[in-house]
Symmetry: C2
Subunit: 429 residues, 2 copies
């Protein structure tokens, strides 16, 4: 029981449902871990232990109603919560209490979840101020971002599950650095109402966990279904496409090693590994992503620019002022290129059991002045496809390096099932 | 001064800036009109005259700072306002006070605007409960919806300017019925943060006014610029495409007459009027719009479904339960069709000075059980193009029938300039 904080969400819920673990004990184990580690990790932007324990006791008095009854969840601090501030790591929003839950928070609470606290984020999940969150296993390195606190807190066993977001690579990349599971569902599958907008075309709510079954649980809660439910999958005989992607030249040793190792392990498991080169147009998606993100960011931060200019970080002023000189024509070209590539990728991916691609350039880089590079994630964010970071491999310094399993839009459950099998193989390797 | 409520926003602001009209006098004129007419019109979901007058006095004490200093604006009651409830015409949200401003509200206030009150909407601007708002000039007819209160209040001179939204035809259609100007900017140009989500791909913040210069003013405030600023436009020698659209068979006499009349008047003004038939794929956009709207609505109302099932109208339960049986495959097909048609339409429209298309099937229909049909608006919402409703013509019963001026994405200012010229011609006719 003192170690309940290390349980996966699925295991903790099973014990709660069975009556062998109380919500209060689970939450106290999490809080004890946080008390121990937070002075080092700095993952939390807001946490009120007394309020959390009171909520846990309340849940313990109630019959188990929802599938997440009593499950503590950490929430990236740019997602609105009715009973906590939502501060966006911005001086504009210090102490800001919107007093309402974002749509996904309401859905989680209706399923019985206990919102434990708010986790550190890069300012507006977009740029500017970086949090002081540390990498769980190396104080000299970044945990990645922008979902820094959510990823670090899950990796360090403060909580079993956390919400993040991804616009470029804000979830998959840090999850690769910290060695946890993460899922970015197909764009549009989960409401983003009440989640700070940066780019409507790109922003996606994400989930971070230590066990892939926990991601599956959230698919259930959020009603994410494939047209054809994935059957009994096996990697034996599966065709797995390895897509080094058009930015492979930015892969460091850690990712090169991990990618080769994953291919070898999957071949050992009986999979046919095929190298996938995408059509030439895909090489332009990286630039298109930047155009869409910054072009839409121009509208997203206009209100802060007008109402709170002095407190708005120059990174965001530059977006509103259109420092990149993005025109309507270039934005349309970026939209239309992405839109043309989406069905192309879906059709390509349907020829394989799944597509595997790097999650990050390599191990977590040094310093807290950076959160690493999203270069390997941007194309997939723009393609709107489901992505799962699979941990298990390490780089030259023994730090985690993940791989991304992806597939066609709206094949979320299938992609996750494949990712689970891949994860099992990597873990054995 | 007693008639200040009939001024356009531009004229009222000019008088305020010149010191010949106080904000308080302007607001009192609006409130007097509302007191007189609201028992009939029922356009307002929330209005506190005393608070409004206090704000007006406060603004009168301050130097004129922003371009909208003292301008009273009505806000559709599914857009968050920090000092008023936001009730969505839903029993779930009775008395709901989010305590924050939607991003566009913050931008308007930073420009000096005075948010007068909240206007009636169809439930969640999507279906379910209809408001009791009446057509300003015929109690037996609908003013249209879902932006019913915003459109009726502007048409009836309660306010010079109002915010609405459009997902299908929720602004252009009622504006056609009520004979006012309205603009739906290019998708993504204005932040929709804090505006209730129905469909991310379709929802767009809109503006309703009695003068087109007021729409231009809001383009300035929201930083909507074309790549090439529109020059000195004249209709003499202009090429105007008349697009009856693939749903022309649903045009009633009012729209058929107005459309023919507009073409004749523009020809008299020296314009070359060309009939535009869109490529066959465009005929499928109407169905694609329905798929996108309902497919995305499935995620949008999940939180209300889970947390407040009993109070959620069956229309929205049906969306969450996917009553239409929309699959991932059909949703992708709809996304990809729309995405393929967008650059096609842009290219077609670039061959003309502007494209004109119907705003509604005809005059406002009878009854408050309906808000009319959005059949003529849906394609344009899905294409993301700027649309301006131009009033001035009437149908067989003497009621307003508008036409829509549209053009390529991100050509908002050009489209609005053409619409102004068209409006002047129709007004003379």
């Amino acid at each position: 029981m003192t170690e309940a904080n290390i349980l996966s969400a699925t295991d903790a819920l099973a014990q709660i449902h069975a009556g062998t673990l109380s919500v209060e004990d689970l939450v106290r184990a999490c809080l004890a871990r946080i008390a121990d580690r937070e002075p080092y990790l700095r993952a939390w932007a807001w946490l009120e232990p007394a309020a959390v324990i009171a909520q846990a006791r309340e849940l313990d008095k109630q019959p188990v109603k929802g599938p997440l009854h009593g499950l503590p969840i950490g929430v990236k601090d740019m997602i609105q919560t009715r009973d906590m501030p939502t501060q966006h790591n911005s001086p504009i929003y210090v102490g800001h209490r919107p007093g309402i839950d974002a749509a996904p928070i309401e859905t989680l609470r209706a399923a019985g979840a206990l919102i434990l606290g708010k986790t550190e984020t890069v300012e507006f999940a977009g740029g500017g101020r970086k949090p002081l969150t540390r990498h769980p296993s190396d104080p000299a390195r970044t945990p990645g971002g922008t979902s820094s606190g959510s990823v670090a807190a899950v990796a360090d066993c403060h909580i079993p599950l956390a919400l993040g977001t991804q616009t470029a690579g804000s979830t998959i990349r840090p999850s690769s650095f910290c060695g946890v599971w993460a899922m970015k569902p197909t764009w549009g599958r989960v409401s983003r109402e009440g989640v700070k907008v940066y780019s409507l075309t790109l922003d996606t709510l994400t989930w971070i966990a230590r066990a892939p079954s926990d991601l599956d649980l959230l698919c259930e809660v959020f009603q994410i279904q494939d047209d054809t439910p994935p059957g009994d999958l096996t990697l034996d005989g599966a065709r797995i496409a390895f897509c080094r992607s058009p930015v492979w030249d930015q892969a460091e040793d850690g990712t090169r090693m991990a990618f080769a190792r994953a291919a070898a392990l999957l071949q050992d498991a009986g999979a046919e590994v095929v190298e996938l080169d995408l059509p030439p147009a895909f090489a332009r998606l990286h630039a298109a992503h930047n155009t869409v993100m910054n072009g839409e960011g121009r509208a997203a931060f206009l209100n802060e620019y007008r109402a709170s200019y002095a407190k708005l970080h120059p990174d965001f002023r530059a977006k509103v002022e259109n420092e990149l000189g993005i025109t309507g024509e270039s934005l349309c070209a970026a939209y239309d290129l992405a839109a043309a590539c989406r069905p192309q990728f879906d059709a390509i991916a349907r020829d394989y059991t799944a597509v595997i691609t790097p999650s990050a350039p390599g191990e977590a880089p040094f310093g807290l002045h950076t959160t690493g590079d999203s270069v390997f994630n941007r194309m997939w964010s723009l393609l709107h496809v489901p992505c799962v970071n699979v941990p298990g491999l390490t780089g030259p310094n023994g730090l985690p390096v993940g791989v991304t399993v992806t597939g066609p839009r709206f094949h979320d459950r299938h992609v996750l099932q494949v990712a689970m099998r891949v994860g099992a193989v990597l873990a054995r390797g």
